[in-house]
Amino acid sequence: MNTKMNHRTGSLTLALAAALAPLAGPARAMEDDAIFQATRVEVDAGRSDSKSIAAWRADGWIGTDYNRFAWRTEGTRRDGRLEDAEVQALYSRYVAPFWDLQLGLRRELKPAARNYAVIGMRGLAPYAFDVDVAAFVRSDGRLFARTRAEYDMLFTNRLIARPFVGIDWAARSIPSDGIKAGATSSEWGLNVRYEITRAVAPYLEIGRQWQRGTDGGAGANSVRAGLRLVL
């Protein structure tokens, strides 16, 4: 306990957080700057346009109130083949009430192995919308972005419907990749979960995915059932 300001740099905290990850949890006597963590995992399977589809989405953070290491991963298997998968590792910093600034790296594993630098904002917007916006700079200098919003609607204290919308953007057209400037893909739908406890919630999700191609766009509807865990 000291009466002076703690002088910890962001990077030191990051290293500390990584090193102390296995010890995360208990706060001690008067220590109010303890390390906590949250992990959320959603795994589901279903059908999309008469093909089988399975997906995972997981994200979490570990750190103190103001400086955290945040991570996320998501991916989809369609018809038995891994269609897309990615991982992100971010430094997440509390910059305003309800908002974190996030900086880090994104590695796409599928459809192609690619690296991006990430800068984004994640938080709760007025009227309680969960908002996640990020800009990506690919290793070849190309600029992309992603915007996602979700909203929790309570039918009961356990039955919660969550409409969501997410759009991927590209700054410029890349004819060789078949990418046109503007929205390159989008996903929107409704996820309805039942929280047996805060930690375990099965869900049903219906959604529509849209992919823009050189010849216009292709959309697909999906229905999935899955399990959400908050650890």
Binding site: P26, D32, R93
Partner: protein, 603 residues
């Protein structure tokens, strides 16, 4: 192990107080439940032990250890003092020197804090501030003179140990005569229990906002409210209120942090255990009420009996008769009741968030119980309450608070340009009330008020001088505190926080980032407690009592803990006799653990 002894009370060397002794009987002794081994249930008997059976002493020995308990049907781990939850009553006498040896058999640092006692700073028991704490295996000798009398308690100041069971009552008998009479007395220690270890509770509160809140407003609730509205204006008001809360990203049902997993106890006894205190009809019973809960206020009443409040926080007050009183964490009230009928009365302590209640019985014999009144609906805050529009004890005019609350946030928003290494930056940004700027303050919206959250309305007297609910404005000290003359040093303590991230702070700084206030011994201090959050906070000061500015002028009451309502400002006056760092913190333990602690370093 237990200092209680059935039988005659030893009253050494001073005039016998005017009370009849309860003669201990073999039957009573047989009903005491002693720990029977490592896995024993460690609670005391359902029968409340009258204090006439407790011994006044000057030397005490306490051992702190982990013990298995069973409050819910599932074995769980508790921290016990001499094997019990609550720990043993320490009974002392004003004017004497006491020695308390605390042996730490836990595997973590601990400390006992004597809540409300004026002791030398190095005996105050705040690890990391007043002393390093008591290490595992160590025995620490607390030694201090008693310069006051009344009902107090002691508990761990290693913050997350208290909810696990480290709390117990402490009573100091006065040197002189008390200004009220009674025939029998009991300690009523209210607390709570949850099987989840405190560290895990805090981790969960950090994980998901409102983790334990299972009574949020739902869409069907909104639909039902709109449907029940009697006019388009009412419908609009309901809708606007909902929208306003959503815009602020706050939850009006988030009044307290616990949920349905919590049990509420009277002296370690659950509702079904039925803690029972015996009386003979016509006797005056003194109940020493203590709120030792970690996170809940209690609204205490005994249907059928009026409570005559004679002491608040151990200090004599002019008696005031009330039907119900609200107790914040750490507060104590001594009340006299006079049951005249030969029947069972229910001592009912509903948590302020209405997530549960504690219950005891006052009866002429064991095995009786009274009717348990309904708890009432879950309270839902209204915007009007947030403006601190209710009466109560505060000097500053409430109306400007809404505007004042907006001011500190004017500096927020733009992330400072300072580079990452400066940790000070985020601390200016606890915007709990940020969304409230420009919010029109709406009064008395029909259908939305629900349970009034305001702790104590400015009370009107019902018949016979009986007040419905105790308010600080009703308290008058019998012996006013003489404060030093001269200009007062003004200290502002803004109660702040970010509920979304479960950060709680004072002046936007958690304890680990705070710069402590400074004062001199004997200097007059005027402290303004300004609540900028949407929750009530029981603010507790170590090392001295303070005078609460409640409009009673020279007869303003002395307290060591005061509840500050959302949007409210309470001004207190004090001065310290002893040097050292004296902490001042919210007595909601998880708020304190999340940073809501400050200190005044007195030189």
């Amino acid at each position: 192990m237990n200092p209680h002894n059935a039988g005659r009370r030893v009253a050494a060397g001073h005039a016998l107080p005017r009370r009849r002794f309860l003669q201990g009987t073999a039957g009573m002794a047989a009903m005491l439940a002693w720990p029977l081994g490592a896995n024993a249930v460690v609670k005391e008997s359902h029968l409340a032990l009258p204090l006439s059976s407790s011994r006044v002493d000057t030397k005490f020995e306490l051992t702190l250890a982990r013990t298995q308990v069973n409050f819910t049907g599932t074995p769980a781990s508790a921290i016990t003092l001499n094997g019990t939850v609550p720990g043993p009553l320490l009974r002392m006498h004003e004017g004497r020197e006491v020695t308390i040896a605390l042996t730490n058999r836990l595997d973590e640092v601990t400390a006992a804090h004597w809540h409300g006692l004026k002791v030398p700073n190095n005996m105050d028991g705040v690890p990391g501030v007043t002393f390093p704490g008591i290490k595992p295996g160590e025995t620490f000798q607390y030694r201090f003179d008693l310069r006051q009398s009344g009902t107090y308690w002691y508990h761990s100041h290693a913050i997350l140990q208290e909810p696990a069971g480290f709390y117990a009552p402490l009573i100091i008998d006065p040197q002189g005569r008390e200004p009220f009479g009674y025939d029998r007395e009991y300690v009523v220690m209210l607390s709570e229990w949850v099987d989840t270890p405190p560290e895990k509770v805090l981790a969960n509160l950090k994980k998901v906002e409102g983790y334990y809140n299972d009574r949020r407003q739902t869409l069907p609730d909104l639909y039902a409210e709109l449907k029940a509205a009697r006019s388009p204006q009412e419908r609009e008001a309901i809708w606007n209120e909902r929208v306003a809360w959503a815009r602020m990203r706050m939850d009006p049902t988030d009044a307290t942090d616990g949920g349905s997993q919590w049990q509420f106890l009277v002296h370690g006894q659950r509702v079904e255990d039925n803690w029972t205190a015996l009386f003979k009809p016509g006797e005056r019973i003194r109940l020493r009420l203590i709120n030792a809960s970690a996170m809940n206020f209690f609204d205490v009443s005994i249907p059928g009996l009026d409570l005559t409040v004679v002491q608040a926080d151990g200090q004599n007050v002019r008696p005031v008769k009330v039907r119900e009183l609200r107790m914040g964490n750490g507060e104590t009230y001594d009340v006299i009741v006079k049951p005249t009928e030969r029947k069972a009365y229910t001592l009912f302590a509903a948590t302020s968030g209405r997530i549960g209640f504690a219950r005891g019985t006052l009866a002429p014999e064991l095995g009786m119980e009274g009717e348990i009144p309904p708890m009432g609906p879950r309270p839902v805050r209204s915007l009007a309450e947030m403006a601190g529009a209710h009466g109560g004890a505060h000097g500053a005019a409430p109306a400007p608070q809404a505007a004042a609350a907006a001011d500190p946030h004017a500096g927020h928003g733009a992330a400072p340009a300072a580079p990452a290494p400066a940790p000070a930056d985020p601390h200016a940004m606890h915007g709990g009330m940020k969304g409230m700027e420009g919010m029109p303050m709406q009064d008395g919206m029909p259908g939305m008020a629900g349970m009034p959250m305001g702790g104590a309305k400015a009370t009107d007297s019902l018949a016979d001088g009986l007040k419905d609910r105790l308010a600080y404005a009703d308290l008058e000290a019998l012996t006013p505190m003489r404060l030093p003359a001269g200009p007062a040093k003004k200290i502002d303590m803004r109660l702040t926080g970010d509920m979304n991230r479960y950060i709680w702070s004072i002046n936007d700084k958690k304890l680990s980032q705070a710069t402590f206030f400074e004062a001199r011994v004997g200097e007059r201090l005027e402290i303004r407690l300004i609540n900028e959050t949407m929750m009530e906070h029981p603010m507790h000061m170590h090392g001295a009592f303070f005078v609460v500015d409640n409009g009673k002028g020279e007869r303003a009451p002395l307290k060591h803990t005061v509840i500050v309502k959302p949007g409210e400002t309470i001004t207190v006056h004090t001065s310290f006799d002893e040097p050292g760092p004296w902490v001042f913190h919210c007595h909601l333990f998880y708020h304190a653990a999340a940073g809501m602690v400050q200190a005044i370093v007195v030189k």
